[in-house]
Symmetry: D2
Subunit: 338 residues, 4 copies
């Protein structure tokens, strides 16, 4: 951590500042520049809050050099984290895991049919929303517990482990009992009370990146879960908010190699929500594989009477099957197993 | 709501689409253009989800014309909403309410002293954090319930109503019992489960704008609380995330006249968190008044030994007193009472 | 185009508005809603400026339905535009063109060596900066005309056509004479006087997307060149500015399928500048191919004494050669020729 | 400047790096941390390009501590820069200068009438666009030289100095001869060739902030003009691009105190273009004064037949007169002369 003192800070005040920092158990190097003095703080600075240092009237700016996360950092955990869930090993090198299913669980018929379809095409886990975070209080909020029940039924029929989103700390116990991977949505990425509760269980947590979160904040949210005692976090890039309006969000694929370098946690991509247009799902899925993601979570819906239609952001089973074939082809050329 | 159909949609499919929309209880106007057909949906479209319409394979785009919020809309509630809290009437025209206090409650001595100081200078409510949303799990998370207890003590001593942040639906009952205004932080603006719980009580809710939320989404989050049955929402602009890094966030002061036009809810400004630098608090506070906000929530800290210092984003009591005098001056020229 | 009138506009004023629009040669459909009246403008609206309509006191908002670009639009030009430059056919389906070379031309030795290296590995065009847009007036501004001369020398030796950036309308004549593809940098994407000058020549123009430009604005800048009479525009996505600071810019790969759908113009990707880190170039290049780009423009430097080093954003020739091999592998699986 | 070396850089390589930096005429302090070594570069680092340092394979990151601008910096020029133009002294403390006029010069009648109106209400300079940067090649591009002629006529009649936008280096000579303040639009803020040309004249340059420019980049563009020999630069904040769509751009009023602290150059605000809605001009203008700007540049149009109307972003003369009265009132309370 580097602390830049204000110009004209007196030698006496510099010494006070040094004592203050040493009292926190850190070593200090003094860099006396032309305009200002810069202190280099040496030691474990991850517990130091830059804002606290800023409270000192002689401090102009504070810059972090070491990352603020530890348990999520590849530095202290060089090997990839790998989680075995059903038939899949998420995070293992040269493997690309497909999670697929409808945006919302709507009925028994729907979820069973989609589950069988995506399994046939090669999906390893089934996704489906039971509790839906909706911008409007007047929109459909999901089938809730009935949705979880139907997902379990689909799991029994197909053997596919299930992934579904949690929205409230009240539901943690029920989710731990009933689902295989607990998803935290983008809007709850910094719902710290929820993260703390999830840190107490051992279920794999699929942590989506917040709409305007930096990579560092995203890893700090993972750190909350890890620090709580749950080592099983899967990151999911789902697009960030920019000024561009053609796509719903801007999928940040460069975040994938960044996260792989900074952290040992697996990271997957959601190509459906980011763009919000089904015809973009295929190119973005192939790009997700090429850029080094550990998998994708993709929306597949099933409405026989609209079989030739593409929904806003969902593929139909036929389109999904075609995507799977292309992923296998590209995977082969890169030595990646789908 | 305007539904733009894909080019080359057949007349038969246009008719199917029209029937589909009429079945939702809406009227339809058909605009047959050169390239495409555009349907104008007439009636109450606030309950229509554009994404559902997008599921139809002939729909190219959907544009809202009416706002999706109703209870928060000035259209259906032309008079300003006003809440009497202690000595203040937040939201009444030509009145500017000051909420002041430390970022975090740290000790009995601190909160009592700051409370007395800000009261003396003219603050109408006392703010202070007890539960702190922190990016890092290793940072100080607040005094929690002990912090609430100390705030109540300060209220007893000074008569100032207290404002403090809630982070979990578990705490709603306790907050309703103990505090006067319940703050929802930027990171929880779309924590819908929390909003639903707060919709069940009658306490005024101070709803901060999310870091990357549009004005419409912010008002939709207010709508969650209003739709739940709690009519008492105060909005708070606290800066949005942009590419600019000199300031911590970019205070969006143009959101104030926008919100005043779109909604009847009071809207205040947080000049302390947005910039993250105490020397910006005064100019931004004056600008907040000039742009038409109903008040400000400002950080004031109190550390006698650092009396000449400015912390990162807090004013000291003397600086706060000087700000109050300037606000009164500008207020006088604009006919605004502070 | 849809014109939303203000609530409470009188019938008389609606009729005036209709006459006004009809005088512009357009047809009008009237949609009388509960809250407001919406006019559907039918006909060629590409020459209508929404801001002019907004000048009318009864207009609340104007929304475009048809795209404002015509010559750049796939609607009016369904076949892909293809340009033959040297041995490459940029824009032809299932072909991926590689443009490579140093960020700046530094010396004869450097540019000749890099040119031969990249040619050997399979690059089809040589890039190299002679005029450099630099944020600071104190930074190296390029070798300027001497740089152009050295590029031509490299072209003579290797046969590779050359791509280099123009910064001033003064230089158009000289560039037309000496280079094969004229690059317009992100910072000049809306330098309309430069675009107009380039519209008068017939050289292929490589038009980079502006740092905060929407896809629509980017295509409108292409439209300037096309409308001027030059049909040869190649688009280049190079990252947009967001709040994320880990990468220099956020490469918007979803813009590629978007542009391919909206326009017939070829679109390539710059994986070097966007991220600003050489270790990201390979994954982003592979992703660019997978997402459907027509090629990449990639920085390759050459400093024997630093042969084992990776520069900030440049690959060395060995790394570039390894990238080419991987691109060929992935290309094979997708039926794409490199 | 702080140079963070990669973890595991050998002592030998650290020494090489130190020699390399010393060869550039700088002193070096070495901070040996637990994970990595950090070099503090002491001396004049404004001419050092961080990207060049990044080319070294042992460098992980480079952080600037001193600002990269010098002539624009308040550090080296503590007194406010003040320019006398006509009756105004732009930049002098406690003075607020009003520049007003139509978006585009449309006709002799229009510009003369508006000029007289705004003068009567207290404007000190006349604005009006002759060369218009338009996103679409099909939109009206301005009256060009005829527009300049009409502006001069309005100046003769009213005595108001004129401000108008330049778009091409070709026009610098003509502008120097005919106008009083040369405006550089947001889209040309990094048109470095234009900036260099303007650095050769002595006319005051009104430099608008780019749509997605940081404050530092904006000051670096001013530095281009200053470094070229023209000391007369007025900065103009006009809104930045964010995800918010209700306003056209987000006016960044916190940039005003930031610029006043970092630089000695005057900074004004454009409240018309940023929001794009005339009813926002008044509150944003008052806020601009309250936040410490040196003035505003505001659009006033004049169309008698639409006298009761508000255009998209322009005030009519009556609204402008009312704004002037309010500015004088607030100015009085803050000791600011309008």
């Amino acid at each position: 951590m580097v602390v830049i003192l204000k110009p004209k800070t007196t030698e006496e005040d510099v010494q006070k500042m040094i004592s203050y920092v040493k009292d926190m158990g850190l070593d200090v190097m003094v860099n006396t520049g032309v305009d200002c003095t810069v202190l280099g703080l040496l030691g474990d600075t991850s517990r130091i809050d830059p804002d606290t240092l800023m409270l000192n009237c002689h401090v102009d700016r504070v810059m972090r050099i070491a990352e603020p996360f530890k348990k999520a950092s590849r530095k202290f955990h060089p090997e990839d984290s790998v989680y075995e869930i059903g038939d899949s090993k998420i995070g293992v090198e040269k493997t690309f895991t497909i999670i697929a299913g409808p945006c919302s669980v709507e009925s028994e018929g729907q979820i069973l049919e989609v589950a069988e379809d995506v399994k046939k095409s090669g999906a390893k886990l089934l996704r489906g929303g039971a509790f839906k975070p909706r911008t409007s209080p007047y929109s459909f909020q999901g089938l809730e517990l009935e949705g979880i029940r139907l997902l379990k039924e689909a799991k029994e029929k197909t053997g596919l482990p299930i992934v579904t989103e949690i929205m409230s700390p009240y539901m943690v116990e029920s989710f731990v009992e009933n689902v295989d991977v607990i998803q935290v949505g983008a809007r709850n990425m910094q719902n710290f009370d929820l993260l703390k509760e999830l840190g107490k269980c051992k279920k794999p947590i699929l942590l989506k990146r917040g709409l305007s979160s930096t990579i560092e904040e995203w890893l700090m949210s993972a750190e909350y879960i890890l620090a709580g005692g749950n080592p099983n976090v899967i990151l999911c890039e789902r697009g960030i908010r920019t000024f561009e309006t053609y796509t719903r969000n801007t999928l940040d694929l460069s975040a994938i190699p960044a996260v792989k370098r900074l952290s040992h946690l697996p990271v997957i991509v959601d190509p459906s929500h980011s763009a919000g247009m089904s015809w973009m799902v295929e190119p973005l899925s192939l790009a997700a594989m090429a850029v080094g993601a550990d998998g994708i979570i993709v929306e597949v819906h099933n409405c026989p009477e609209k079989a030739l239609c593409d929904g806003a952001q969902s593929l139909n089973p036929k389109q999904f099957d075609s995507l799977m074939k292309k992923l296998k082809g590209v995977g082969k050329s890169l030595g990646i197993e789908v």
